[in-house]
Symmetry: C2
Subunit: 331 residues, 2 copies
Amino acid sequence: MATLKDVAKLACVDVSTVSRALNNTSYVHPDTKERIYAAAKELGYHPNVMAQALRQGKRHTIGVIVPSLFLSVFAGITLGIEQEAQKQNYGVLLCCTSGDPASEKESLNRLRSGFIDALIIASTGRNSRLIQDIQASGVPVIQIIRDQIPHMNSIVADYEATGYNAVHYLYQLGSRHIGFLGGNDRIIPFRNRYQGYQRAMQELHLPELTVPSSFVGHSFEHGYRDAKELLFQFPDLDAVITSVDSQGLGVMRLMKEQKKRVPEDVRVISLTGHTIGGLLETTMTAMELPALEIGRSAVQMAIEEIDSSGDSHTSPRRLVFHAELVEREST
Amino acid sequence: MATLKDVAKLACVDVSTVSRALNNTSYVHPDTKERIYAAAKELGYHPNVMAQALRQGKRHTIGVIVPSLFLSVFAGITLGIEQEAQKQNYGVLLCCTSGDPASEKESLNRLRSGFIDALIIASTGRNSRLIQDIQASGVPVIQIIRDQIPHMNSIVADYEATGYNAVHYLYQLGSRHIGFLGGNDRIIPFRNRYQGYQRAMQELHLPELTVPSSFVGHSFEHGYRDAKELLFQFPDLDAVITSVDSQGLGVMRLMKEQKKRVPEDVRVISLTGHTIGGLLETTMTAMELPALEIGRSAVQMAIEEIDSSGDSHTSPRRLVFHAELVEREST
DNA sequence: CTGAAAGCGCTTACAG
DNA sequence: CTGAAAGCGCTTACAG
């Protein structure tokens, strides 16, 4: 690989002049410039990105940490991130934590060592200190979906309203015994969805139908088992709101085994839909988020932050998306 | 960010000693070592990977190009890649192409400019020349799932046998009218699965049941429409083999709409299973690939290639995994 | 308009 | 066993 030095020698100038000519970073005499271009072309010169990165402290890479890609809204978001980053000529360094704080910590530590220009993260909420350190060290952080850390850039959705609206939607369809499956209560979207559910149920003077075990996890298995428990405790159950799709699949599966018809006996709606809902034997109604768009926005926000770093402290940015009801067979 | 220099100062030694101690690259007096470790810990020292990269000519980053993450075996493989890379202290630069050759080309060009030490790719088969150039320029390439380029490292599965075995499995269950849904015939796994199907059907003196449109795509929609066509042309159809899960979901959906019971009227099996099969109302039998392990192996192979680059031309490596039958309700 | 020099943060022969 | 020095390939004040 030809280096700046080779080009300089061939063009009979100093490396600094070559650098300035090639980067258009200050005026260089047209004749000199031409000679330099010719030399660079002849040698097939490509700048060494690592040297540039080291010198400029820029790597043109964005770190992304998400809990999971499988059957999760983060699959779509990651795709959106990837597309927008590519467009902006940034690379994406991806880490999946499986929701495990230890794995998340490891990823954060790896990424902070000069790997990335910005970090996009949906965190477990357990490494907030470390994340704040990273931001303080000059790497802009964008929280997506989960705004675990206040006063830090974030792109989220109106979870409370989503939970609230789902109840009213089911009520209007005739449901009166509406169960709710949550998730880890430390994670803000799960907490807020539940709050929306609570508010609506109070307004409608309906009793809350929940089981404690559902505030622990949100996998298919959790959905399955928690729905079973819900049904056991509240035999009149005629609707279930699940926080995410994978839970919803678990509920649908359970209902089939219990010979409950969906939606005739029990309606099911997921509060965080993505395409899977439409690909089932019984398609599932869901509140859907524009995942691709969220991903793209995250990259745009990240790059804005990178470019404006050094500006006197601007206030944190915040973007709120709205979930849209997509009616399918399960309601 | 603390640097080597900071650690050296705190530990009252030279930076070179710190480097040696931290990297275990030559003997350092235990006492000194201890002091260095303590200092590094106190300062929260993390090496600057870009500086290391520049010095060593290694970027400690692996490029990954896959067609899709959604409802695809590549989700699991990517996760495996990510895990192993993390373990080996490599970063992963991810690109999704959506199966689009133009997007793939763009990703390849971006990655080649000094970004990565190795490339792991499941290619569209349309950029083979470019991929070979990259390999020739000294960046090892590992093909996963799709060994589109002969005589180049690859990790694949025994697709032909998988197709063949699926037929015999269905035959033994009693099916005699076994349809097959393929995919883009330029892509080797799709081609080979079909060949396995053909071989078995010939052996059993059964007529092939296929529709031309199924050799174009493998999405849910393709599965749905192609199964409809299959059923229309062959009303006796009593089993469908699909190349991938998303197709399988489409078939299951169609069967429900057509009031065909699965598996009583029509059996369904997917040749490239991953967890989704177990999460459905009617769970789906599938030939399952060890996706995580494939991903991990790919990283290991990539790193071996990186470390052995410079060795006189070794022959390409090749790893073949076997799919395992996971029986569920759909058969 | 251009050169000489310093330095990004690290590793690694070379001495001693 | 450890230090001093050179250098990876680039950029950028600083002179002139």
